[in-house]
């Protein structure tokens, strides 16, 4: 029986008074959600499938000898590598499969987790906040039908992405069972974070906050497993508290075991039960955390474009800053395991030719380059928030009150620039604090904090690309995220995939010297700052001339 005839049959069934029919209409809603998401799901599926197949194929070209693999295995002794990839299995006899699993799987898990969070919030809290859920619920649609249809949509999306991932691996002649396990692991990890988002959607009235809380949970899961895996590079007791670790603990291509995935499935069920329980305790449209009344009158600081920007961005800014600070402290505190790594692998010192101080310095530098991604992501999202405001018609409302366009844009961007600066300082300070705690050497606090500032030109440059796009092609402003994703891709996978240098150079971050482990080079920093100013200028010029386009 097709979905259509089932839906028809369901409708024709006589309504029995007293039976609540909580799932009536689920199929109709599922069809609607798939209609709305078909492009999104297709893009995720195809891009993840191609990314995996392409990455594995190109790695096969690079790592052709056991020696090259073993060199890669030696890198996994470095805590910063473990932190940013995952537990390292099979290092003694490093196979190609083990390398793929150790170094690639984390990013695939993050991808499905982010996809699931975005899809879930889109069909739960975002619909509820916009009043679309009310329109659906006034139809003959059961109480649980919208949430169930959203869950089914996310399941289907994860199933497709997981299948594409497994197909990409099998297609590049990887071992079948482990390839399937990696696909399954990515899919169930996606479901775990989708379920987290179902819970956060119950807590708050706003979709932005629901997404933020779910992403923060993902960040925490990342931090927990990062620290846990550094404690023991095959995963310590701490790692097991992170849902990201479960899929990684399947020991793909080394000693495959399926049972850690059961933990993910159990977690999904538990989270969904919690979400249902929470949803029973709130009204449609409301969150469990009741919104408090705010001030009736605006304070003076709110009454300027910069003040308004500060107010609107404050929540996101504090969230990003706190999250990054905690992650930075946690990362920094792992610096003491460097000494152990040196002890364990005495050849490491000879091989890379550096002493412990150099090693700590390079550890700090590489951690900083990873953490800088958060600064970039914050800056771009804060610039693009202006586009959201415009789409909602709120920019119009400000402009007609007498704010000039230049005033509005400069106030907003000034606020973003300042917040990004604060974030850089706080990130460097946090990392420095952690490293101080780990090494007992207070000098790292100052050194790392100062080093963090070196990432500002690149960050401002990327944000300025968003500004220029916002001015030139407002409808395409979100495309700026492509650059952010590229920056992250180059940073995380660039060397592993041995990307050509021109491709790496497309990332502005690649031009930032790896301070404090190398000396500061002024030229690239000044060039990027100059380009940032130029792009910002383009943004201003075009913003002054273009139409304001809501919707």
């Amino acid at each position: 029986m097709t979905a259509t005839t089932m839906a028809r049959a369901e409708r024709r069934a006589p309504s029995r008074p007293g039976s609540a029919e909580p799932w009536a209409g689920t199929l109709d809603l599922l069809r609607l959600y798939l209609r709305l998401d078909r492009i999104r799901i297709l893009v995720w599926t195809v891009s993840i499938g191609l990314l995996v197949a392409g990455s594995v194929a190109s790695m096969k070209q690079i790592y052709t000898t056991p020696e090259s693999l073993q060199a890669r295995a030696a890198l996994m002794a470095n805590p910063s590598a473990v932190m940013m990839t995952g537990p390292a299995f099979g290092l003694d006899n490093y196979t190609f499969g083990a390398m793929v699993a150790n170094e690639l799987s984390l990013y695939l898990l993050l991808a499905t987790a982010i996809m699931s969070i975005l899809l879930v919030v889109r069909h739960t809290r975002a619909d509820e906040e916009a009043g679309r859920l009310e329109i659906l619920r006034a139809l003959p649609v059961g109480r649980f039908a919208p949430a169930t249809a959203a869950a089914l949509t996310v399941m289907l999306a994860n199933l497709l992405v997981g299948a594409a991932l497994a197909l990409g691996l099998v297609g590049t002649e990887m071992e079948t069972a482990s390839s399937l396990a990696m696909g399954a692991g990515a899919a169930v990890t996606g479901l775990v974070f989708g379920a987290v988002a179902v819970v956060t959607a119950q807590l708050t009235e706003h979709s932005r906050a629901a997404t933020g809380m779910a992403l923060a949970t993902l960040g925490a899961a990342f931090g927990v497993r990062a620290v846990g895996d550094v404690i023991d590079n095959q995963g310590s007791w701490l790692s097991w508290f992170s849902p990201l670790a479960w899929a990684q603990q399947t020991r793909l291509y080394v000693d495959l075991r399926w049972w850690p995935l059961a933990l993910s499935l159990i977690t999904v069920v538990v989270l969904l039960v919690v979400a249902v329980a929470l949803s029973q305790r709130r009204d449609l449209g409301a969150g469990l955390r009741k919104g408090k009344p705010g001030p009736a009158e605006a304070t003076g600081s709110l009454l300027s474009p910069a003040g308004l920007a500060r107010r609107l961005l404050n929540g996101a800014f504090l969230g990003w800053m706190l999250g990054t600070f905690v992650l930075a402290v946690a990362c920094g505190s792992m610096a003491n395991s460097l000494e152990d790594a040196m002890m364990e692998i005495p050849t490491l010192g000879e091989w890379i030719a550096m002493d412990l101080d150099d090693l700590t310095s390079s550890f700090g530098a590489s951690m900083l380059s990873f953490l800088a991604i958060a600064m970039v992501a914050f800056a771009v999202s804060a610039v693009l928030r202006l586009r959201t405001e415009e789409e909602a018609g709120r920019v119009e409302a400000l402009l007609v009150t007498g704010s000039s366009r230049v005033g509005l844009l400069s106030g907003w961007l000034g606020c973003v620039a300042l917040q990004t600066l604060v974030m850089a300082v706080v990130t460097g300070f946090g990392l420095g604090l952690g490293m101080w705690a780990a090494t007992g050497d207070v000098v790292w606090v100052g050194r790392i904090t100062a080093s963090a500032l070196a990432y500002l030109p690149a960050t401002y440059f990327i944000a300025a690309v968003a500004v220029a796009l916002y001015g030139l092609l407002p409808r395409w402003a979100t495309v700026s995220w492509v650059l952010v994703i590229w920056v992250a891709f180059v940073l995380f996978l660039g060397t592993l995939l041995d990307l050509p240098s021109w491709a790496m150079d497309l990332s502005p971050m690649a031009h930032t010297p790896l301070v404090p482990s190398v000396d500061v080079e002024a030229t690239p920093l000044l060039t990027m700052s100059g380009l940032a100013v130029l792009l910002g200028f383009v943004g201003f010029l075009t913003y002054r001339r273009r139409d304001i386009v809501p919707g």
């Binding site: 024709r12 609540a20 329109i135 006034a138 003959p140 919707g551």
Partner: protein, 303 residues
């Protein structure tokens, strides 16, 4: 007595410390067009959401088409159509797609003659994406989807917000046609002229409580008519019982009179030598202002 399509008794509902409904009772007979009148924030939408089973009342009872709106929500929804005052739709779908979606999920037939007829009457282009629609056009999408469905009961929550006067006229005709077919309509509004034009009965709600309810003529009976006349001897009338706000200007008098006293006042007017006379029936607006006027005064005095 005719059966009741909607019956609520002493509904209460609080959001935190805000009391949205405070003992609301509402009765709508089958086949009637009932007006539900009140200013912003009086609790109209909260009531309708309870009737739709989206909110659960804190206390009190509600029946819709003889069923319980919370536990029989789906069964009720198969027999009703709902239009919200602020219609938000999926920006990426076209108007036509949304209409079909809403009709089909209710169990109706999407490609009906009725749908085409309504699209034409409301002058709606169904091929445009929802994101390009103005508020009025989004409202039309919801109205077409609701009116194209063969519902027993229509719950319309400020349905004409954003519509231009021409489209309001189309809407008025459509609601009149629904009444002819014996459908029941609950029309919530703060536009008095609309309610006056369309509704058989009116319930006025204020601060979450029904303060007045009945047919328009019953309600008018409770209020005053406005009389203007030329009198040879105005003094006779000025102190008569039931006469209020008496003014004289060049022999023209103008005053309000309680409808209960209108007969006796007319006799007095004859005695006073009336030369020309107009008696304007009380508008709903006056009725409304009398109820809400108090509130305004109370607010002023408590400040």
């Amino acid at each position: 007595m005719a059966s009741l399509a909607i019956e609520t008794h002493n509904l209460t509902k609080s959001y935190g410390t805000t009391r949205a409904l405070d003992g609301l009772s509402l009765r709508v007979e089958t086949g009637q067009v009932a007006g539900f009148l009140g200013p912003n924030g009086a609790g109209k939408s909260t009531t309708i959401r309870i009737l739709l089973g989206m909110l659960r009342a804190d206390s009190g009872t509600a029946r819709v088409l003889g069923l319980d709106p919370w536990s029989d929500a789906v069964a009720i929804h198969r027999r009703i159509a709902y239009v919200a005052g602020d219609t938000n739709l999926w920006p990426n779908l076209t108007g036509g797609e949304v209409i079909d979606l809403l009709i089909r999920t209710r169990g109706g037939e999407p490609r009906s003659r009725r749908r085409a007829e309504l699209l034409e009457r409301f002058e709606l282009d169904p091929t445009k994406r929802v994101r390009t629609y103005s508020k009025g056009n989004r409202q039309k999408v919801a109205l077409v989807a609701a009116l194209a469905y063969d519902a027993e009961l229509f719950l319309l929550d400020e349905p004409t917000s954003g519509l231009d006067p021409l489209m309001e006229a189309v809407f008025t005709e459509e609601v009149r046609a629904l009444r002819q077919q014996g459908r029941t309509v609950l029309l919530s509004s703060h536009i008095l002229a609309e309610v006056e034009k369309l509704c058989d009965t009116v319930t006025i709600i204020r601060a979450g409580k029904d303060v007045e309810s009945g047919t328009l003529s019953q309600l008018r009976h409770l209020t005053r008519s406005t009389v203007t006349a030329s009198l040879r001897n105005p003094a006779v009338v000025s102190s008569a019982p039931g006469v209020h706000d008496f003014t004289v200007e060049n022999g023209h008098v103008r005053f309000d009179v309680d409808n209960a006293e209108i007969g006796s006042v007319l006799r007095l007017l004859t005695d006073a030598g009336v030369e020309n006379l107009t008696v304007a029936p009380p508008s709903l607006e006056e009725l409304f202002l009398r109820h809400y006027g108090d509130e305004v005064r109370e607010e002023v005095t408590t400040r």
